[in-house]
Amino acid sequence: MSVLGADDEGPLYVSSKKVYPQKVTGPFRRMKWMILIACLGVYYFLPFLRWDRGPNLPNQAVLADLPNRRFYFFFIELWPQEVYYFTGLLVIASLTLFLMNALAGRIWCGYLCPQTVWTDLFLAVERFFEGDRRERMKRDDAPWPLPWDTMKRKIAKHFVWLMIAWWTGGAWVLYFADAPTLVKDLATFKAPIAAYLWIFILTFTTYTLAGIMREQVCVYMCPWPRIQAALTDDHALNVTYRYDRGEPRMSVKEAAKVKLAGDRAGDCIDCHQCVAVCPTGIDIREGANLSCIQCSLCIDACDNIMEKIGRPKGLIAYDTDGNCKARIAGEKPVYKPIRARTLIYVAIISIVGGAMLYQLATRATAGIAVMHERTPLFIRLSDGSLRNAYTIRLSNKRPDDRPFALTVHGVPGAEITVPEASPTADFRPIVVVKPDTTREVRAFVTVPKDVPLEKSQDIVITASDLFAGEVVRAKDHFMAP
């Protein structure tokens, strides 16, 4: 019986039934353990990784420095105005999700999603303290009050769950401050209150989502199964019960009898192992299902049984419904990982990824923004020349002081001056910007009296780094009567 009522006659609401997934071994389970260790290892320990950026900048490899409005990711340093990189990252992430889905269904759900990873870990803890499926079911079936043995096991389980959840929240805040310092501050109760608050919030959500709600999150809360169902197609591989081979189900003895009589017997012996190991409590043999996170544990379970009874493995495997039908009709199954859909996804991912890489590689470490002052638009000076005022903001994304020389082009005879800056020998004003900051200065552009001027003409203000040679430009206007 699936979690979502499949039959039309049944009630619209089904109250949630506790799922007791059984322990399983096999290649998919092994792979899932390895992915779990890798994912959690990265999550818990990444904040402690150091990355030298010079004396003026933090040396944490991955850091979202909110007070200073900087994001550091290894060799990349992002300023708030560059958050579009995250947009690109999100585009790539969602397209990768689509691509995985087009190739082999809900890879994300089954192996990589934090909900799956943490739930897997929490289930392992539950199994460690309360025993495997049958034992847990028996313990929970006992009348209240539960025996002390069960109680103490449950208490231990919840305690370990809370510890894991607490560590999850603790690791999260380390991404927002220098990790070793924050750990020290947290331990000595000197950390900011926000850090404790976030640890508390994430402890609560991890404990609730991975410990208590589990598959309910995937079935009822998560939008991805709905979107995934709309994005899939006939060639996308899914964890499939090959009913062409499995039906009609019968026991090994019965099958021998039926075969003796010359009839066809299916390979499925109806042992329910696939149901017992399922973390969302469904029966894969009912076909593609919204509740199936495609964790492949039923493949391991079924393969183990098939091995025992000496039948070929792969009764449940990555396959398509169309191939089952094809085999029944006596046709050859079709596998098409390379098709228009997957090619388009790969193409878009490469285009967006390539554009981002190009942008990142050629990214300016200096910036200039110019704003023309509007009250007044222009000033007539005593010698008859015209002057416009501008507010110029220069940004320095490097970890050292940088002197920028300002020049103006576009109007003959135009000269730029900055009252608060010192000019160099060739009369270019020099504005020094401190490391990793911006500086705003007021600048005047003056055009001599004889130069013929329109009401408005385009000018370009250029800032050249005197040391590194980097040049940035901004377009604006010079206004005249």
Binding site: E9, E373, R374, T375, P376, I379
Partner: protein
Amino acid sequence: MSQHAAHEPEKVDAATGQTIRSHEWDGITELNTPLPRWWINIFYATIIWSIGYWIVYPSWPLFSDYARGAFGYASRLEVQADLDGLKAVRAKQAAGLEKASLEDIAKNPDLRRVALAAGRTAFGDNCAPCHGQGGAGAPGYPNLNDDDWLWGGKLADIHLTLENGIRAAGNDKTRMGMMAAFGRDGVLKPDEVRMVSNHVRQLAQLPTEKTYDAAKGAAIFKEHCASCHGEDGKGSLEFGAPNLTDAIWLFGNGIEQIVETVTNGRQGVMPAWTGRLDPITIKALTVYVHSLGGGK
């Protein structure tokens, strides 16, 4: 028609699994769908919680007052505390402005930033009506962005002008300069007024009228104007006499405008701000105005 049948066995609706209430109106029945228990419990909890609110926060109106809450909390007091905090912060900055000299304020980035922010606000409130937003000026009201300063554009000059005004009534230290009404007072005849007005335009290298005679114009200028504006017409900061040779004209450089100036004189007034504004604001305004055009 309503029928009440309390003793019938409970009917269950097939689609929803809910029991059906025993009421029936012309064949229409009602599902028994009570609010979920958890929802009702939260509702009761909020009612109990609200009693805590009555005790802690201001709540019930009384005849001439209101229940002020156990801890005397009021959002108004929070605002007051914020305002007091702001005042304390500003007092520190104001003290910095009060102690430092004008030059130091202009040089020190922190003091300068405070002075510019305060000066900009004060300028908008007090100066912009005549000098325009941003100090762009208007005919008769000097543009504060240019490099032409009638009474000097150094920090000290601007400060003096702000404190005491120009031709400000009732201020002993105000600076006076008199552009006399040569025509109206009969000092010059109308044709002489026109002659000298043409001469002024000639000084500024502007075209003159046909009737203009350079020698006559120069003679009138030397006799009546040069004492303040100088023989070369370059003006004098001492008397606030404008430079007549440059491109900046407070009252316009058309021949009729100059004739009007020479005939009736000009006495623009800048009020004295001592007494109206506190000394710190005047200092901030000085630095702000000086920053507009780079001063002198």
